[in-house]
């Protein structure tokens, strides 16, 4: 859309949802047109997408049965992991940028702080005071729970993460810090029954650094909660473990939650600043058997707790294999990453056949070192084509391309399109919308998502 149109769109986006629902009653527009649009849009089928949506939706509905169904739990975990994949990705991108600076690398051990429940390891001055909530605090409310997942108070700003299960969403709340009341408001929330919110102070005022905080949430007083000084690199060196593989250093930070439960938060530092880690394999990466696992010194695998307490794809819990067993190894066979600024060297040009016909094509390109070959194009309707592609997907390789986005020269954003994967993974067929009078496809490949082979083996000690 043109900028002038986007201005209108932004205005329309601000209309309240409930008001829209109300206005529809009075025939705001011709709703029968939607069916006609459906008829047009349904010409391009994507059964794989429908099945994925259906599988995810139904598995979430079966939440009540998931305590005994391992595979279902994995899907549930995956949903929560994906909910905040973008969040974690952005934070990790920030970390990646920080960590790749030479002077930061040199002084890395002196300035890192682990922020539990926030999903990030933060770089800062050695003298900086940072107080954090060491372990999540869970408040039962009726049939549900409100979890204070993380609190960080520091001179540069404060952040509090909340999660709710079967309790109303919290838009904002008050916190008493150092005899003053501050209002915190959500600036990032995902919700669908269960919800997660990350909150910051609403005014320009910076909440003071203190070792105690009391929250006032929807008429409930929570606390005072004791905060502790954030662990620094020297603490983490003793508790955490890291391994560098293929330019990505992954570190695991354990927190003993008590009752035989251990929380692990993972952090990735990439030598490539634009590389984002989307999955550590806590949720399945394609095939079930390539996911993350935890084993004790005897090689016994720990049960990964896949309840709804997860916030980040880098965050999971496991149950100790036996009482007193305190040393484990977190094994990450693969990472799923993307490179948001990578693009193919040039445009791909593929002639569009007549409606009802297809032809072989021999168009090759590469993106970020991954070869991509387009082999066939078929036009079943005037407004859409399918294009077969070979990305040589192979999990045995050090890196293998999972999928990519495409972009045309006249758009700053990637194009919307659907695709079908091979059973073993990797793109098989792209489904692209075209203009009826279009004679060729012309696009660039951008933002490759790929899988990097490890393993990263991270021994951790639970204390």
């Amino acid at each position: 859309m043109k900028n002038e149109e986007l201005q209108i769109v932004k205005l329309m986006d601000q209309i309240d949802k409930e008001d829209v629902m109300q206005e529809l009653k009075d025939g705001l527009y011709d709703q029968s047109l939607e069916q006609s649009l459906l008829d047009i849009q349904d010409e391009v089928e994507d059964k794989a997408a429908i099945e994925r949506i259906k599988s995810r939706t139904l598995s979430l509905l079966q939440e009540g049965h998931m305590h005994t169904q391992q595979s279902a739990k994995r899907r549930f975990l995956g949903r929560h992991a994906r909910l905040l994949a973008a969040a974690a990705a952005a934070i990790l991108l920030l970390c990646a940028v920080v960590f790749t600076m030479p002077d930061v690398q040199a002084g890395l051990k002196k300035v890192l702080r682990f922020l539990p429940g926030i999903g990030v390891v933060q770089e800062g001055e050695a003298t900086q005071e940072t107080y954090v909530l060491e372990k999540p605090y869970v408040q039962a409310i009726g049939e549900g729970t409100l979890t204070i997942d993380g609190i960080v108070l520091q001179a540069e700003g404060s952040i509090i993460n909340l999660r709710g299960r079967e309790v109303p969403e919290v838009e904002q709340f008050q916190a008493e810090i150092g005899d003053r009341i501050y209002t915190f408001r959500s600036f990032m929330r995902s919700a669908s029954g269960d919800w997660f919110g990350s909150y910051g102070v609403t005014t320009d005022a910076i909440a003071p650094v203190a070792n105690e905080i009391t929250l006032y949430v929807d008429g409930r007083t929570i606390g005072p909660l004791k905060l502790v000084t954030a662990k620094t690199a020297s603490d983490l060196e003793r508790l955490g473990a890291s391994e560098l593989q293929q330019g990505i250093r992954v570190t695991a930070f354990p927190t003993d939650l008590g009752d035989g439960l251990v929380r692990i938060q993972l952090n990735a530092q990439s030598q490539a600043a634009d590389r984002i880690v989307h999955s550590y394999g806590v949720s399945p990466i394609g095939e079930e058997d390539i996911g993350l696992y935890v084993e004790d010194d005897n090689g016994t695998k720990a049960i990964i707790q896949q309840d709804n307490d997860l916030s980040y794809p880098s965050d999971f819990r496991f149950r100790e294999t036996e009482e007193g067993m305190k040393t484990y190894t977190v094994v990450i066979p693969y990472l799923k990453v993307s490179d948001r600024n990578a693009a193919s060297a040039g445009e791909v040009v593929i002639p569009v056949p007549q409606v009802g016909s297809s032809h072989e094509v021999d168009v090759s390109t590469e993106i970020d070192g991954f070869p991509v070959a387009f082999t066939r194009i078929e036009r079943t309707i005037a407004s859409g084509v399918s294009v077969d592609v070979d990305t040589d997907f192979d999990l045995a390789k050090p890196r293998t391309l999972n999928y990519f986005q495409i972009r045309t020269a006249d758009s700053p954003f990637p194009e919307s399109f659907s695709w079908e994967d091979h059973e073993q993974g990797g793109m098989k067929t792209l489904y692209l919308a075209i203009n009826p009078d279009q004679t060729e496809l012309r696009f660039s490949l951008v933002e490759p998502h790929y899988i990097i082979k490890g393993p990263w083996r991270l021994p951790v000690t639970v204390e």
Binding site: N3, E4, M12, Q14, I15, D16, K17, D19, E23, K25, L28, Y29, D30, Q31, L33, E34, Q35, L37, L38, I40, Q41, D42, D46, A49, I50, R52, I53, K54, R56, T57, L58, L60, R82, A86, A87, A89, A90, I91, L94, Q122, V152, E156, G157, R185, S186, F187, M188, S190, A191, S192, Y199, G200, V201, T202, Q405, F413, E415, S416, W419, A433
Partner: protein
């Protein structure tokens, strides 16, 4: 289908996903405008169906079709997701995020008076302009799809939408630079 969902028949939900899943995914993908992955879009659609399942008692057939209700839920799910991704992608530091937080929340609010005025103005557009306008700017429909839907040329669709925008700008005292409009 609605009644069966009310009775917690998951098969009916599956049928709804079969019937509307792709359209909702297309809508969500348009709204995300390249932000996020295909997984994000599918997750959004899944969340919309879950919300519909949980909130089915809020659905009032008098207000509109079930399909429209689903579209509206999906639209706002997608907006939530887009804001979330945008803010986080633009995050420079925890501190900046905190400052952005308050500002964004304020900037996204539109007064009820302006909203009322906006909706009243749209209502005053004749058909097919009103539907064209709504489908284009509320549902982000492509011009080509609209042209096909209304049996118009793309140019004709553009002209009609342009006239609507001009009328709206004049009525709301907007300039093309965005004066009077809260930017996201």
């Amino acid at each position: 289908m609605v009644e069966r969902i009310r009775k917690r028949d998951t098969r009916a939900l599956e049928e709804a996903i079969d019937a509307y899943g792709l359209a909702l995914k297309a809508l969500v993908t348009r709204i995300l405008s390249g932000r996020g992955s295909a997984e994000d879009a599918e997750e959004c659609v899944s969340d919309a169906f879950l919300a519909a399942w949980h909130d089915i008692d809020k659905y009032d057939g008098q207000r509109g079709s079930f399909r429209t209700w689903l579209y509206t839920i999906a639209k706002y799910k997608a907006l939530d997701k887009r804001r979330q991704i945008s803010r986080l992608t633009n995050a420079a530091s925890l501190q900046e995020d905190t400052h952005i937080a308050g500002a964004s929340a304020e900037q996204q609010a539109m007064s009820s008076e302006t909203e009322r005025e906006l909706i009243d103005l749209i209502r005053k557009f004749g058909e097919p302009d009103r539907s064209l306008f709504w489908l284009r700017y509320f549902y982000y429909e492509e011009l080509e799809q609209l042209a096909q839907l209304f049996g118009l040329t793309k140019k004709a669709v553009e002209n009609r939408l342009y006239r609507c925008r001009v009328a709206l700008r004049q009525a709301l005292h907007m300039t093309e630079k965005g004066d009077g409009v809260n930017e996201e």
